[in-house]
Amino acid sequence: MKPHDTLAEHLQSQGISRRGFLKFCAATASMLALSPNMAGAIADALGKARRPSVIWLSFQECTGCTESLTRSHNPSVESLILSAISLDYHHTLQAASGTAAEQAREQAMHDNQGEYLLVVDGSIPTGAAGGYSTIAGISNLQMLEETAKHAAAIISVGTCAAFGGIPYANPNPTGARSVMDLIHDKPIVNVPGCPPIPIVITGVISHYLTFGSLPELDSLKRPLSFFGDTIHDRCYRRPFYDQGKFAKTFDDEGARNGWCLYELGCKGPTTHNACATAKWNNGVSFPIESGHGCIGCSEPDFWDAGSFYQAISSSPADLSSAATGAVIAGAAGGAALGLYNKYKRSNAKDKHYTVTTDDMEEGSS
């Protein structure tokens, strides 16, 4: 790979036509909620952009995020743009190993100081002095801090890197933390999802290449254009929710009719992601379209937010046992206080002041 090829040249060498490239740019513009006219601008910018150096660090993760990008469907523009960047370090994808691999990272850091993009997947264990996960004898935490120091920006790919994800779930034995918990002095974009949608990752990179800046983010540092709406807002089953038509089981008539999966625990209302519009598997469908409720995988703490199969309005706590206990405690407490009241009243009766005609004489009024 020649690092100074432009993206357009590189794509051409990979057999991607100009037409295919423009189509990708239009799709990216649309996903980024830009005006369609911007597709041309993106094409121009991307066409001229130099392939940036990217260092990809994988920490406590399952490689699902990388799988999502590279293997989710047939070779596509999204997967090609991944090879279009100068991916100088990636555990899973790099050929080098051992000392050579680490040297590649140090070399990239050195050559592109202050300009390289850092992509992180996986959360960072901070327990046991970072001892839960080390690479080449360097703890994840140390590696993140080192690499982040001279990065232009950081993209946290996947829920683990963005919010801690599954390793962060209660009781979080490794003391897992998200990137933004640990790095405070660099621009960070979170692309959560378990896994995240490929075009969202490439969209963020495209935006960076086109405009030289990160896209507009929400309070959780997610690109607003992808995470501005909830799954519920954009769900094609939404009208059934509004009409009060709900599937009660996964095989009832409601389920067959494609009614709302709210009562089956769909977390669409509380999940911000683009699944309902970007979809998966080359735009084939998304979980709800396949008949399963959204599990909210792109939200912080989704793993601890109760059963995937329990409606969001119901309580994950055991209410009826609590209520039974409360009835017993309340009956006992109420009886005690009630009897005390009775005692108090009879006490007052014992202290009764007997009114006589003498009281009819004197008067304080």
């Binding site: 009241n341 009764h352 002041y353 005609t357 009281d359 008067g363 304080s364």
Partner: protein, 429 residues
């Protein structure tokens, strides 16, 4: 805390029972009870809102009998009742409440508000915050035997007068008869025509009855001032008299609160059931009519109405009987708007008429009654309470409406009693 405040608080603690606690617990301060109260409707002054009259007792309830209140007390957040509070509430509890009980019908959560006023007065009287007029009336009741200071001597004079008028015996202290008749002091003093009236009615009906020289007074100042101790003493006199004369029934006179005192509160005041039954004179007259023993003749085509004494209807349950009796004779009987259960008070019940301080307010709120009367235009108001009768006469005079005659039902009915011949024929049948 001063001793009088202590007494007031202790009395409230004594008086608050499960129903009272429930009423305070349920009040949401909606203010609808204000519309039930003539003191509010006729003055527009929000302080007369019935539940507000009980605010001191609400505070005691909250502090002494609720979980949250106890915590507030423990944290020092609850306000103590002061002497000033008691003085301020004295006028609310006595001068601006006739204990008519309309509020208890209005309350959306079902609170029996007036029952709490009765209880609140216990605290007032125990702490020396009862109005002078009521205190003096109570003293006379206990010491002389009647709130107006009427003695057995006066009664004997009226008996003689009645015997002369009717030519019939008016039994006094006669043992072994069925009924012992009570009177209200207003009847003995002002409306003494009641004595010949009932004498003739009972004679015609063949009722055996008597008056009692030691228990002739039906009114009970203890109930009005709100002292169970005094009320019980007065009830005991009646029970003693009735037991001495071995009667089966005691007749409550045409007096509202006397009926409440004797019929409903009495046994609870003395702590045991009566060895006799209590019957209101109007109830008895209707019973006699039903048994065919009350025979009337002639018709009265005067346009007239019946004023329901509060204690007789809302608090006593005697609603239809006076109407049945009136319809025996009256051909132009008209009902007031809100008659019966919802009738408006004369303004002088619950001891207000005995409380001189309350007089200007009482005269003002008569406008409620006036409005009712203005809508029907009658020549006569019949009622069954000598206190109502007094208040009506006074109010009509104040409003230049004194062409309207006010009379007691028994007295009015006695005028249409069938002549002795018809009576005799009736006896044979």
């Amino acid at each position: 805390m001063s001793e009088s405040v202590d007494r007031a608080v202790n009395a409230m603690k004594e008086q608050i029972d499960a129903p009272t606690a429930s009423y305070f617990s349920s009040c949401v301060h909606c203010g609808i009870c204000a519309d039930a109260c003539l003191f509010y409707t006729e003055t527009g002054d929000p302080q007369y809102t019935p539940i507000h009259k009980l605010d001191l007792m609400r505070r005691v309830w909250e502090r002494e009998y609720t979980f949250a209140g106890r915590i507030k007390k423990w944290l020092g957040l609850s306000r103590n009742i002061t002497e000033n509070d008691l003085t301020k509430w004295e006028t609310l509890v006595y001068d601006s409440c006739t204990m008519c009980g309309r509020c208890s019908l209005y309350c959306p959560v079902g609170n029996d508000i007036v029952s709490m006023v009765r209880k609140m007065r216990e605290a007032m009287v125990a702490s020396g915050h009862a109005p002078e007029g009521l205190r003096h009336a109570s003293k006379r009741s206990v010491e002389i035997g009647s709130p107006m200071g009427i003695t057995a001597k006066t009664l004997e004079a009226q008996i003689k007068h009645a015997e002369k008028e009717t030519g019939l015996e008016v039994p006094l202290d006669k043992e072994g008869v069925d009924y012992m008749m009570l009177l209200s002091s207003a009847e003995i003093a002002q409306f003494h025509e009641i004595i010949p009236a009932v004498t003739r009615i009972f004679h015609q009906a063949g009722v055996t009855w008597t008056l009692c020289s030691t228990a002739f007074e039906g009114t009970n100042s203890g109930i009005q001032i709100g002292s169970s101790d005094i009320a019980a003493e007065l009830i005991n006199r009646i029970v003693d008299g009735a037991q001495k004369l071995k009667v089966n029934y005691v007749i409550s006179p045409e007096c509202g609160h006397a009926y409440t005192a004797l019929r409903w509160e009495g046994p609870n005041l003395i702590g045991k059931p009566y060895p006799f039954e209590v019957v209101h004179i109007i109830e008895l007259l209707d019973q006699l009519r039903a048994r065919g023993k009350l025979k009337v003749e002639g018709k009265d085509d005067t346009r007239q109405t019946f004023h329901d004494p509060c204690q007789m209807v809302r608090r006593g349950g005697v609603v239809e009987q006076p109407r049945t009796l009136m319809n025996l004779v009256a051909t132009d009987f008209v009902e007031m708007p809100d008659h019966g259960m919802m009738n408006w008070c004369c303004g002088g019940g619950g001891g207000v008429s005995a409380n001189e301080r309350a007089e200007p307010l009482r005269r003002k709120v008569f406008s409620a009654k006036k409005q009712q009367l203005d809508q029907i235009g009658v020549e006569r108001i019949v009622t069954a309470c000598s206190n109502c009768r007094n208040m009506l006469e006074e109010g009509l005079e104040d409003n230049n409406m004194d062409e309207i005659e006010v009379i007691g039902l028994s007295e009015w009915l006695a005028e249409y009693l069938a002549t002795p011949s018809a009576d005799a024929a009736g006896d044979k049948s």
